[in-house]
Symmetry: C2
Subunit: 464 residues, 2 copies
Amino acid sequence: MSNTKPSLPKGTRDFGPVEMARRNYILETIKDTFRLFGFEQLETPAMENLSTLTGKYGDEGDQLLFKILNSGDYLKGVTIEEVAQGSSAILPKIAEKGLRYDLTVPFARFVVMNRNELVFPFKRFQIQPVWRADRPQRGRYREFYQCDADVVGTDSLVCEAEILLMIKRVFGAFGLTDYTIKINNRKILTGLAEFIGAPGKEQELCVSIDKLDKIGWEKVKGELLDRGFVADAIDKLAPIVRREEGLNADTLGFFREILGSSIVGSMGVDELSQVLDLLEAMGGDQSHVSFDPMLARGLSYYTGAIFEVKINNVSIGSVSGGGRYDNLTGVFGLPDVSGVGFSFGVDRIYDVLLELGLFGDVAAAPVDVLITHFGQQEMNYGLGILSELRALGISAEIYPDTSKIKKQFAYADKKNIPYVIVIGSEEMNSAKVTLKNLRSGEQHTDNLNKVCEVLVQKKRSPND
Amino acid sequence: MSNTKPSLPKGTRDFGPVEMARRNYILETIKDTFRLFGFEQLETPAMENLSTLTGKYGDEGDQLLFKILNSGDYLKGVTIEEVAQGSSAILPKIAEKGLRYDLTVPFARFVVMNRNELVFPFKRFQIQPVWRADRPQRGRYREFYQCDADVVGTDSLVCEAEILLMIKRVFGAFGLTDYTIKINNRKILTGLAEFIGAPGKEQELCVSIDKLDKIGWEKVKGELLDRGFVADAIDKLAPIVRREEGLNADTLGFFREILGSSIVGSMGVDELSQVLDLLEAMGGDQSHVSFDPMLARGLSYYTGAIFEVKINNVSIGSVSGGGRYDNLTGVFGLPDVSGVGFSFGVDRIYDVLLELGLFGDVAAAPVDVLITHFGQQEMNYGLGILSELRALGISAEIYPDTSKIKKQFAYADKKNIPYVIVIGSEEMNSAKVTLKNLRSGEQHTDNLNKVCEVLVQKKRSPND
């Protein structure tokens, strides 16, 4: 047995009680909304066959997959000659499984494997960790949670509008006010490529435009030239890219006009316009929602709507995103499954809420009250009180050892427990207890019933 | 890209909406109790350094660890000569991390790494999957959840009594009535070894006695002989082993007498007796709690109380277990941390509740109501209704496409949605909606306000 100081694998984290309370608050808020909108939960295994994962995330993604060594004598059947060819050559022989890289591919696999039992449209949400062998850095971990909702089996734009409603509901519940949901449509980008005389090149256009925020228009221009866009195309693009942000209706009008000769482009404008109409028909308004015709998210599989959420008063990049895809399951032999999905970036939302001080009392009181005592007899007396408190739903602890009262109070203090009940011989003899509010310092001695009333009341309205 | 039929790695499972609803019910019930008793949540990463995991679970456990191949060119620095020595020889060079095998070792690592920040006694619960490269079979998976609660940093027997209370509270909440919490104390087994004249051999005694339920006394006798227990020792053991189960007080009295000359044994009897007294002082009674002096759980690290829960009317083995240990963190260089822990067997509890029909309506209604419609106009009209329902906290969906009403009803039916709202031209013209209860077939047409009242009422008291 080793006796060295233990450590964590790099890029991974423990989540202690305070972090867990905050994370649970975020996840429960999101889950509540998912459920209200009719999404059902799915969980898939951490391990997938490498045949399921490989080739789905590009070459770079394949490199970032964590591979699991086959059990037992994994080198059996591998010859020395094969080993001599290197790591990649023997990989398929010694590792058949890998860790989940995202929640989309496992979801697609699930849909294909269960296509005959599932009811379509299928609305699922999934909240689980994923793993990537990325170089760890601030805000980038090798294990992190994803939090996805997708509807598959319908191309109804109601789904897009519901995504906007869900985002607004969740971010509103968090108390966030200064955020923007950027929305675009892949077809608008396709139309744009046609408009500037570079039809079919929207992929390259997207990749470059996606960097607009980071590197600015001049550098994007250079990149476009490198990618073979001619000067005339870039000239046509320039006024569009540099057009000032306006009302969604104005921007839509502008694009309806310039993309009038593009069938696909017009379709994109129509879809986006309908999504905004549906949003209003469903009782939402367009506050926080901004049509950004340059939004591309650099992802090749979106075919319709594209979403991205930014927090305007925190510098952290996008905190959520998603879009519509038309071929989620084609790679597993089931073509033409259209769907639209969205992912909340839990880690970044955590950082935002922390920075803006929006967690409030979320992690403040894991336990409502601690029973402290001056000796063995008092402790025994406290045991009965403990069960009465818990029967009322009051989360309660008794200090389990006969220690100095100061140590017991320090325990309550460090655990952020707001109240202590003190039991001394006086309390025992008078069949009363002393309740002390550790935050205000106030204390009073009363019958247990009265004290319970105070605690129940506090639990119901913690801010009174 | 592969285009073959996807599959799951053997021994792993997807959890669809119905399973997830049931699992969440189990886990939320347990979490509620943990929190009421002052336990706080911890989560640790799926991956641990192999130096943390190896050597903690015996040779067999080391074999069952899933190892993660190092990223990049994992064979770099490995010579052909080393490869020729086989799988085990190069393992430390090509894999530095493994998947969590249980929650206890990561917890011990966490305690050691955070010993200066933690407040002791530290009460943590942890609910996460673990992975074992075991041969899959019915009820045994390669990925499964563990659900642990531990208190470390105190040897107070209040903790043992609280474990009994928590088990009773959780199993009671599940509606289980015919279950037994077996309790024993490792010191009683030590005393027993002394009593039969085989001091220090309680480990071997435990391993054999542990099989009593499975193979019977005659075969256990044979095994004891093989393990070097003399006939005289076995003769002394026989009447104890075959003693009929009685009241806890009687069994305690019997053991207090026969172990009177063993200091450790007497201590064990005292501890157990105190735990039962504390249980009663805390408002619990001894129903479901049975002192089983033969309970050993075959685990070498228990030093005090040992717990195990069996469901008497379902043949499934133990569904939960735990005990006190005195050296959780010694292996990581932090000696003398005493703790007591308990683990709920979530997968088996799931099977038990399913077999006994105790899930009730848990997974019955993911969504309260589906809005169906006879055409595009009716659907648009329904969108406004949708948002009013959700604003009242009613989980609601609208069928997102203009399909035949029959198809929309089939969707509600397959998703187990109890109510549909039907919108036709008549409803639109009279500003009313039709609500149909899909279970009873009843339907009536009314103002939206009235219909909302019905749905809110049903949500509050689903069985009315």
